[in-house]
Symmetry: C2
Amino acid sequence: MNQIYASIITIGDELLIGQVIDTNSAWIAQQLNKTGIAVKHRVAVGDNKEDIVLALDEEQKLADIILITGGLGPTADDITKPLLCEYFGGTLVLHQPTLDFIIDLFEKKFKRPMSERNHKQAEVPDTCTVLMNERGTAPGMLFKKDNKIFVAMPGVPHEMKWIMEAHVLPYISKHYQTGFVEHKTLLTAGIGESFLADKIKDIEDSIPSHIKLAYLPNFGMVRLRLTAYGTDKQVLLNELNQYFNQLKDRVAEFLVADEDIALEAVVGNLLKESNQTVSTAESCTGGLIGHLISSIPGASAYFKGSIVSYSNEVKTNLLDVPKDTLYSFGAVSEQTVSQMAASVREKLNTDYAVAVSGIMGPEGGTVDKPVGTVWIAVADDKKVKTIQFNLPFDRQRNVQQTVINALNFLRKLIVENKCG
Amino acid sequence: MNQIYASIITIGDELLIGQVIDTNSAWIAQQLNKTGIAVKHRVAVGDNKEDIVLALDEEQKLADIILITGGLGPTADDITKPLLCEYFGGTLVLHQPTLDFIIDLFEKKFKRPMSERNHKQAEVPDTCTVLMNERGTAPGMLFKKDNKIFVAMPGVPHEMKWIMEAHVLPYISKHYQTGFVEHKTLLTAGIGESFLADKIKDIEDSIPSHIKLAYLPNFGMVRLRLTAYGTDKQVLLNELNQYFNQLKDRVAEFLVADEDIALEAVVGNLLKESNQTVSTAESCTGGLIGHLISSIPGASAYFKGSIVSYSNEVKTNLLDVPKDTLYSFGAVSEQTVSQMAASVREKLNTDYAVAVSGIMGPEGGTVDKPVGTVWIAVADDKKVKTIQFNLPFDRQRNVQQTVINALNFLRKLIVENKCG
């Protein structure tokens, strides 16, 4: 059985001037991998005929399935549809079901008249199979050529996702005999990539070539990912689990999770298991810790809320941080975050609380407390624990690193309490 | 003067299985555009010798400058450096300044011993110019071949950015005679892409070919971006401004900003100008509105904080939403968000407040209030205004759209008050 390869072409000047970040490719790659299709190549080109044609020419040399996103909106900067029509032969014809759908969409949902441009979106090359788009006005199109398939989809993420799930992935499962690709991931914290590599060197050296190990460092955490390729699912899984368990045992003291999961989901699962709740008191993160905790479906079972005390006035009035404490030790101090954590836990009536205060930059640093100084406190019903960091990054990254550090500090306290 | 083109190659299996989203390319593209370099092509390949070599071969056909990120970490999944050494000839030699820097980094900052792997990171091909990396252990490398330059940088975003700013961009400014590329952007809200296009059709048709107009829709807002290319900066700017001002006048009633700026920055600027303050009361967004407002440097001048009332208990205890109101109308109701906005404004002592409550999914919907039902309230010292939305998306997108809608509703109230 041969490995089936895919290429992803994203079209749009906005990708080449950096106005938008391409999140579509990562999502598409994830979905394809699950079905056993390996992504060989990803390429981004501008709204430019010559470059799009070159990409179509080149990618079919590398892959069996070419997925194209972008360039199908209603406005004049979109040149992709006529180009595809020419590239695969044929002429543009009206696709009545799409037109009916668009008319209905404007009447019932948008509640405004549709324009001539929207009408034109129902035209498709007569050489394609139309993939109905029930999330927008631009239909997907599937073309076949020389035993390869080409699928063009709009670039709007939720429309593209809908077309992939409703049409493209089922089509691939039906028409391609794919092998199995399995990923397993360990999430670690508190150990650098190099030291992790030294620690597991003998295991890594023993891993056969059809299983790949990757180190994925991010914000002080490292993901270890094993990827295995094969034809017999059960054999593959047994083999993968064998190496996965060896790695898991070896990195036990740094292990955060034995799956590819966000840290806020790890914290959420721990709280759900023990029927406990959490609240946050945030200064420099402005509410991001609470937002991340609440972003997990079902978070209402364990997340009650936050007090974001960006100003000192709010720290005093809502979190009972004494003015004396702010005056003597400052807003970014062990004393202040301890009080913030204790107060929010009490006022929101939760089992745990986490509090942060720091100087994220670019302004606000002093000699004693330079930009990057962060205090974090976690509280339960018996104690408050604190930790301090000096982060070396820019404002945005300092905030993100603070959130990770705070969630991990909270996670450790919960685990500690569970293990007695 | 010829246009100088760049290509960006990103290396890493993690990009092809979708485990990480490539943010580096967008940032690099932005920086290059500012210097007048156009990005022609972006390509992502796996940690695979053959594919990397193919990308190097192909991209130099398309571009003058080839920027490569990724594949330079300390662990064994990194094959890029030996490959580059072979591709450009030469042998790996120790780069003493890099080694000294790494030793110092481990001694003073990481405070732990360095490993043999980190030592190896100081080895570079003797055919490259080393670009010192003061943010990490992997140095950048610049190669020249057939009048093209190739720059390899680590994939860690803050390290890559540092090398770009310290070395690559200054090198480009010095060695390339670039033309000018100027972008100007209008941010609109409340009008669809198609209608916007109809509204400005005559202006669009009159724009000369060296100025491009792009429509960039995102979360119910559309950015209109003009990009102009030319050799005489002043002529170019005059011309660009002429079309920009025409467009600006035409879309005035939908205009949010006449620059490429985030909505939270628009709100922040309005508040700063009038010396006013804001607070948020958030349920379904979990703190994201406050976080975004606070993410703008200098936000402490106008943002005091938030009360995140994810649970009804917090809505009652901290935001004085009567239990009767919750019982009779529900947490997602005009009555509840009105009270949330009024209370947080009063308790945090701010000029404005914004409050949101909604059902984001996938669970929690009812017949009367399906998933996507959202109420938003904004308050000033005289009144509370409300608005309701029915969003059709998944949890994550519903949250993001709610945040945009809330910030825009707040923006309108502030503008309304300013204009009397």
